[in-house]
């Protein structure tokens, strides 16, 4: 597998008083033809990472290579990288077609080829009928498509997408998520997608890098990231998670036997580089936990709140040691025991669905 992007100890500090360290020391490899997502809260350094690859910023130290070639020596206009900007940044003085043609014109392509490629690209994003419109005369979703076509037209080796869906309404966003995935598969271009929306990241990406405070906290497939969060930060940022204290009694390769606060024991998944003994925190997804009768569960407590969500019901519990715990129950489940706030109940979860956190 070819490596599209390879970053080594990439660091970026913005001058100022005090100086801001946007990227601490990032090591990252992105494979060719991958849909790679940088996911994290605002200020985590994901946009800085993107701007370093695009060439709008220069790193304080470290190396950055694209397909084995040193990127840092090239100005942005010599990098075979195109960007879809968060604000789209369409040229307001040019028509839709002229916007898409811009990159090709700058590359000095022959007129006939430009015309053909522009037509093809507008076709690809289903905007052919609006080619002669001004960018101010089309809707947000359409501008989004034009921005995509403009960035894809010069056939870059890498496409950077800076939260491109954040300005769209819910339905359009869903539609564009599928569309982006389709475009990536069809064009075979490596996509680097920046977002703070975990759902977007989970549905589209081949791999996700979760970033926080200028560093990559975990890299993995969407399933890895969701089901095997290695750190509290990752578990907390993606989805809802219960944090439960436990003590490791025995550790094998990837599993550990743990004793919970209730005195019961179970087995949990161990992350790489995590503690292999002593007091730890477990992360348990609400949908992995099941409500059982009092005395039958791994954890025991009192039901403090029941919230109906349509497809499922969220049951909030106060555990015996005071920890809050949420579990989800599918509303389609047959033969549910009726429950009420204040009931004593237990909850249980399958071995290995609990995850030991590194911190």
């Amino acid at each position: 597998m070819t490596t599209a992007i390879s970053a080594r100890q990439l660091r970026k500090v913005y001058a100022g008083s005090p100086p801001v360290e946007a990227l601490a020391s990032v090591d990252l490899e992105i494979a060719d033809n991958e849909f790679f997502t940088l996911l994290g809260p605002s200020g985590c350094g994901k946009t800085t990472m993107l701007r370093l690859i695009a060439g709008f910023e220069h790193p304080t130290s470290g190396t950055l290579q694209m397909f084995g070639e040193d990127l840092l020596a090239l100005p942005p206009y010599k990098r075979a990288v195109n960007t879809v900007f968060q604000s789209y940044a369409l040229f307001p003085h040019l028509s839709v077609a002229r916007n898409v043609a811009f990159g090709l014109e700058m590359l000095g392509k022959p007129k006939a080829e430009i015309k053909a490629t522009v037509g093809e690209m507008l076709e690809l994003v289903q905007m052919s009928h609006l080619a002669d419109r001004q960018t101010s005369q089309i809707s947000g979703g359409q501008q989004q498509r034009v921005a995509l076509a403009r960035a894809l037209a010069p056939r870059p080796r890498l496409l950077l997408l800076d939260e491109p869906l954040s300005a769209l309404d819910f339905k359009l966003r869903k539609e564009m998520q599928l569309e982006l995935k389709r475009l990536q598969t069809e064009t075979g271009i490596t996509f680097i997608f920046v977002t703070h929306d975990q759902e977007e990241a989970l549905t589209m990406s081949d791999r996700i890098a979760v970033m926080g405070t200028g560093a990559i906290r975990q890299i993995g497939s969407p399933r890895d990231i969701y089901e095997r969060p290695a750190e509290r930060f990752v578990a907390d940022f993606i989805g809802d998670t219960n944090f439960v204290p436990a003590r490791i009694t025995a550790a094998r390769d990837e599993t550990a036997d743990v004793i919970l606060a209730s005195g019961r024991s179970t087995s949990a998944h161990l992350p790489q580089g995590g503690a292999r003994s002593g007091e730890v925190t477990l992360a348990i997804r609400p949908e992995h936990a099941r409500l059982v009768g009092a005395g039958d569960g791994l954890l025991e407590g009192t039901i403090s709140n029941i919230v109906y969500f349509g497809t499922d019901t969220h049951i909030h519990m106060a555990l015996e040691d005071g920890t809050a715990f949420v579990l989800r129950r599918q509303n389609s489940d047959q033969a549910q025991t009726p429950i009420a706030t204040g009931d004593r109940a237990g909850d249980t979860f399958g071995a290995q669905t609990a995850q030991v956190l590194r911190d």
Binding site: V81, H93, G103, M106
Partner: protein, 307 residues
Amino acid sequence: MAANPPLSPEARAARTRWLLLAPAIAILIFAASGPLLITLVYSFLTPGDFGGIEWELSINGWFNVFAQRDIFTDELGWSDAHLSIFWRSVKLSLMTTALCLFFGLPTAYFIATRPKKSRDFWMLLIIIPFWTNLLIRTFAIMELIRNEGTINTVLLWLGVIDAPIQMLFTEFSILVGMAYVYLPLMVLPVYASMERLDFSLVEAGYDLYATRLKVLRRVILPLVKPGIIAGSILVFVPSLGAYVTPRVMGGGNQLMIGNLIELQFGQGRNWPLGAALSITLLAIVMVALVFYVRAAGADSKKDGPHG
């Protein structure tokens, strides 16, 4: 006193409207149309012996704008002196506009790309000279370029030149003076458009393989064009009618239209000619504006939002 019949609400509204409009109408009549009309009327009258006018119809004022009779042969010919002054005025004004654009554009770009906090400071540096008396500013520039001035002294001291370069009292000095005086009028509107410029568009340009020069030509300039047009008009129009700067920097032998007009109303004691020259100046400005706006408008029609 008999009570007035009560006004209907519509009539009262109409009266209020006229009352509110009154200041604007007064200004239009007394400050704009009135003087213009007087000037127009004067241009068709006969000059008085000691200035002023005689109420006697004559087209000599207008005749003398463009033509003259040879004193000896009584032969009719073009008024070369006036035409060359017109030409110099238009030429110097165009050059002033170009010079202001050349220096004003990078200046505005520089200020617009500073951090928000320091922009006001840079703008202040541009505006402070503008608050200073025009004559003082002109004398300051004069001090720089006169024969014993700063530039010549330094060049002599460095041994670059043997004798001072004559810069003052030339067209060059008028140009320098006017460009200096009118530069803020270019920087302000261009800066206003630059500040509104979305710099992610500039990044998009770089991202799409445009070099710095191409980004400037294909992205920045088209987007700040309204500011450039406004600035050019603001510089060109007063340059064409400039009076103080050409007088001081030109030393009285490099006349521009403004000086010529002043001459007719002063020493020349030919008010009708002065009035006719004034109207001619106005006409030149109007024609230039129409051309300029039309050229700019045609351009923006091609690229503008409603193409």
